[in-house]
Each structure stands twice: as structure tokens, then as C-alpha cells.
């Protein structure tokens, strides 16, 4: 009997610990920012510490004005997040994926309002109207000493109304030394 009680107590403690560190701290994933979109991946080849701009993910806020309370890479390995911004989009083109740091490209990217960008952490996200969305733009690099760097998505924590939510984008980000290494890496980090 005593052994059974100990087992039940341990199970209760474990359940409480899991509850305290997972869902309540990050919030549910069914908030007004959606569920992260269609699964995909972008894989680039580059040197160690070579900076890439990743700007193919976006937020379409279907709720009231919200605020991002934290942005990070999800399940990241050897990839450095050097900067993150939210850029308003009023056209049919996102910032996209480029080599180097993000810069203003008004002639190449009409409707991408880089000059109105906000730091992602603390950014105010208005209600989406028409085709307008908010582009998540990151600067990332492969850390020294590693041939592969990757993340399973972008983790955005945000507050809308009186609730906290989490958005996990479904596009993986990978940086390798040669593009021929993309296939095997993307298979290994593919969603189960």
C-alpha cells in the first residue's frame, strides 16, 4: 500500500511539474495568429557566421491588436538568431530569403515596409485587414564548429485580449556547408 501511495504521489508531482513548465507558460497554439501554416523548409548553404535573412514567414492576426511577448527559434541546434523584426506588408510580396542582413529594398520589394519595422520582441500586431500581413524577418547564421545548423520553426509568444498564446511556424530553417547536404538534414528534422 505504501509503495502504491509513493507511486501515486510521484506521479502527481511529475504531472504538476509538467503542467507548470509546458502549456501554461507558453499558452495554447490555437490563438488568433493561426496554427503555423503549411509545413515546409528552407535550406541554404553558407560559411560559418555568414548571415542570412529569413523572411518567408508571416502573421495574419484574425483577432484584436496583439503584442508579441517573445520570439525565438524552436528546437534550435547550432543556429544563431542575430536579430528579429516584424515588417508590415501591404502588397503581394514578402521580404523573402536573402544573403546578408536585411536592408531596405523599396524598388525590389514594393509593399514591404521595412522602414516601418518593429523589433519582434514587444511588437504590436494589428488586426489583419484585406491582404495585409505582418512579415517575420530574421537574421540567422551557422555557429562555429558545426557543419549543420537548424531550427524546427519560429516560436512566437503573444498576448491577445487577456490571453497568452503561442505560434509555432511550420517551416524549418537550415544552414549547411553545401546544398547537397540539405536533403539528409531536412529528412532528419522533418515532422514526425
Amino acid at each position: 500500500m505504501t509503495r502504491r501511495w509513493h507511486f501515486m504521489a510521484a506521479a502527481a508531482v511529475l504531472a504538476a511539474a509538467m503542467a507548470s513548465c509546458a502549456p501554461s507558460s507558453s499558452g495554447p497554439t490555437d490563438g488568433p495568429f493561426g496554427n503555423g501554416g503549411t509545413a515546409g523548409a528552407s535550406c541554404h548553404s553558407g560559411r560559418v557566421r555568414e548571415v542570412f535573412t529569413n523572411g518567408d514567414q508571416f502573421i495574419r492576426n484574425k483577432g484584436p491588436q496583439a503584442r508579441i511577448t517573445g520570439l525565438s527559434l524552436a528546437d534550435d541546434h547550432h543556429i544563431e538568431l542575430l536579430g528579429s523584426w516584424i515588417v508590415p506588408i501591404t502588397g503581394h510580396t514578402l521580404y523573402g530569403n536573402w544573403q546578408g542582413w536585411p536592408i531596405a529594398r523599396p524598388r525590389q520589394l514594393p509593399g514591404v515596409h521595412w522602414d516601418e519595422r518593429q523589433p519582434a520582441d514587444g511588437a504590436s500586431i494589428p488586426t489583419a485587414s484585406g491582404l495585409n500581413v505582418q512579415n517575420i524577418v530574421l537574421a540567422v547564421a551557422r555557429a562555429p564548429g558545426n557543419r549543420e545548423a537548424w531550427a524546427r520553426g519560429i516560436l512566437v509568444k503573444y498576448r491577445s485580449g487577456d490571453h497568452d498564446y503561442t505560434l509555432l511556424t511550420a517551416t524549418r530553417i537550415a544552414i549547411v556547408t553545401q546544398v547537397s547536404e540539405c536533403d539528409s538534414l531536412l529528412k532528419r528534422i522533418a515532422p514526425a
Binding site: T38, G40, A41, H44, G96, V179
Partner: protein
């Protein structure tokens, strides 16, 4: 006596738009009594520039075109062996040498919840 015959195949062209601009592409051919309708390439409205050089992108659904029409110059990958479009295939391509390439969706940005058909434009 030598008789010369001239055979002519009439192509019907449609106007499409992609991330770069508008273009005209043969969409049907009509020869004699046969009219062959090729599944139309849809216009792309939601675009994501992809960096030049060595990259590999995979997204949800691949747009394809009818057999016998090479889209190699249009979409950068040769889809001529396929007919129609798939709703489940993943499109994987390498961006090589183009100064800028775009990945475009017909109903939303690639990576969105319902991007529709996705294709690359050089």
C-alpha cells in the same frame, strides 16, 4: 509530280501573371478536329523572393502543367512530364544562378494555411 502539303498546328495562348509580371503561354492546341485542352497554369499572386545561389525550398503543393508543354523556362523546373496538378506533392527545387527567384502561391503566401498551388518563377 511532287505535291507539297503544309500542316499547321494552331496554338491557343492564355495570359498569366506571376511574381515577375505577365506572360503569355500556349495553353491549348487545336489541330484538325482535335482540340487538346491542357490544364491551365494559374496566376500567382502571393510571392516570396528566394535568395540566389544554392538553396533548397520545400513547400506544400506543386503546380504542374500538361504533358508536352515544357515550362522549364517559365517555372525554372521541367514539369512537362506531369499532367494537371497535385494537391499533395512537395515541390523541391534549387535556385541556381538566377539574380532573384520567387516562390509564389495562388491563394496565399507559400507557407500559409491554404497557399493553393505553388510554383517558382525565375
Amino acid at each position: 509530280m511532287l505535291i507539297a502539303r503544309l500542316y499547321r498546328t494552331a496554338f491557343i495562348f492564355h495570359r498569366y501573371s506571376d511574381c515577375v509580371g505577365e506572360f503569355v503561354q500556349a495553353a491549348e492546341w487545336a489541330g484538325g478536329k482535335i482540340i487538346k485542352v491542357v490544364p491551365a497554369l494559374k496566376s500567382v499572386a502571393f510571392c516570396v523572393p528566394e535568395l540566389p545561389g544554392q538553396s533548397k525550398i520545400t513547400k506544400g503543393t506543386a503546380a504542374t502543367f500538361g504533358a508536352g508543354v515544357s515550362l522549364l523556362k517559365v517555372v525554372g523546373i521541367n514539369l512537362s512530364a506531369q499532367t494537371g496538378h497535385s494537391t499533395s506533392a512537395a515541390l523541391a527545387f534549387q535556385v541556381n544562378g538566377n539574380p532573384i527567384a520567387h516562390l509564389g502561391g495562388t491563394t496565399d503566401f507559400p507557407g500559409g494555411t491554404k497557399p493553393g498551388l505553388i510554383q517558382q518563377t525565375p
